[in-house]
């Protein structure tokens, strides 16, 4: 693990579009936590969209190319070994592109053709390792390292950790997961639980950790999304959680928006707070609520964290 720790000290940072918009608090808190932990983030130069789901729907190979370009820049122009993507969508798409380029000759051919046309080096599978923000902190600093740097505590805070669907699915694009002790699980992910527990949080038993939030249909089929989110929130509250910790901008904004909509449309009010795990970790590291962007979330949780003695 020491080789991994060394490798994760300085990584190429791929925020993706969501972190420059609705998930700005995730961007802010990720960078602030990195700084507090002494981990170095170097933003990918001139990065582009990962292909999200829109491009993937039209042409999956074009999505593979777009994701490969990000990895190509990190590998060849920046000479980096690791790309860290905090957004589950970006993380998923880069991992999928890596898988396609390792297993599908047609994808290799299309990516090579488009890369030459665009005038940059063709990305070859294995040139970089793509990781999530959870991997970065879990292995880059480790639980002991995190403990040493805590300046506050999340003690007394009951948290339901919600990972969403793309962090673990489909399993075959995450070959490093399900590798026994120390590795992440695709059926019961636990990295976020592990890190927040080190910071003092009490993680509750939460059975809907990877359940669908209806994120992709939040505009086209809002009622289904609202009902799915409401059920996730109810399950979190029923399990005793005061906070739902998230690590995906799509899930996070869906949970926050549909929490409001559930009250307006269905008269179902809920009280659980929804925050990024990096915001919680940041406050435990002694950062102020503003430094981790609590004010940038949709719901106001500042008073709650002050009352709990965390902010």
């Amino acid at each position: 693990m020491s080789g991994t720790r060394e490798k994760y000290q300085k990584v190429a940072y791929y925020p993706g579009c969501a972190l420059e918009g609705t998930a700005h608090s995730y961007n802010r808190s990720t960078q602030a936590v990195g700084k507090a932990l002494g981990l170095d983030l170097v933003e990918v130069k001139n990065w582009n969209c990962c292909g999200a789901m829109e491009v993937k729907n039209v042409d999956p190979k074009l999505q593979t190319y777009l994701s490969s370009r990000v990895m190509s820049i990190a590998a060849t122009e920046m000479k980096m070994d690791v790309v860290m993507a905090p957004c589950n969508g970006c993380y998923h798409n880069l991992k999928k592109a890596e898988y396609d380029l390792s297993h599908d000759p047609k994808s290799v051919e299309v990516v090579d053709r488009l890369s030459k046309k665009a005038g940059h080096a063709t990305y070859r599978a294995g040139q970089v390792e793509t990781i999530h923000a959870l991997d970065w902190i879990k292995h880059g600093i480790g639980e002991e390292g995190l403990k040493e740097r805590l300046r506050g505590t999340l003690k007394g805070l009951k948290v339901a950790n919600y990972y969403g669907c793309m962090y673990t699915r489909p399993r075959h694009i995450f070959p490093e997961k399900d590798q026994g002790p120390g590795s992440e699980s695709t059926s019961k992910p636990h990295y976020m639980d592990d890190l927040l527990a080190v910071a003092g949080a009490e993680n509750v038993e939460f059975p809907l950790k990877t359940a669908c939030c209806g994120g992709a249909h939040t505009l086209s089929d809002s009622d289904t999304s609202t009902k799915l989110v409401l059920n996730i929130i109810r399950a979190a509250e029923a399990s005793g959680a005061e906070v739902i910790a998230t690590e995906c901008p799509t899930c996070h904004s869906g949970l926050e928006m549909h929490q409001v909509r559930a009250e307006k449309k269905f008269g179902q009010a809920t009280r659980v707070k929804i925050v990024y795990f990096t915001q919680l970790l940041g406050m435990a590291l002694g950062l102020s609520p503003k430094q981790v962007g609590i004010h940038e979330n949709i719901s106001d949780s500042l008073g709650f964290f002050k009352e709990k003695g965390i902010a």
Partner: protein, 144 residues
Amino acid sequence: MRPLAVIEQRLDALATLPALDPAVAAELLALGEEVLAHWVTAKGLDPTHEAREGFRLLALHRQGCTDEPSFNACRETCRELVYHYNLVNLEPRHPDTVQRLRMMTLVANHLFLFVAGKLQVRELGDFCCASRPLREAAAPPDPA
């Protein structure tokens, strides 16, 4: 197989009960099977009566995933339903039984919401697998 609206009413009723009997675990599992049977039937297949790892629910989920990878978005929800069923049945007098049944009701409800939503909008859950039917219907030429 009861209509989805009837299943929904039953789940809503169970969710509002102040205390739940351990026998409800079997009913919740059966409701989950009925929900998956709706999905399998909508795909033009006969719902299986076989078991996988001892549970028809898991066999039905596997059947529902055939040529539909996005249906895996409810894989862990099915497994959580089975897990809670086992918890309640192995120790029905455990002090946490009522809480476990409460959570099991919410898990069953999530399975219902996902499948019912997917029956209306087939692409629900396709975020990770990206509109496979759309791709198959009109495979575009290679770019460039």
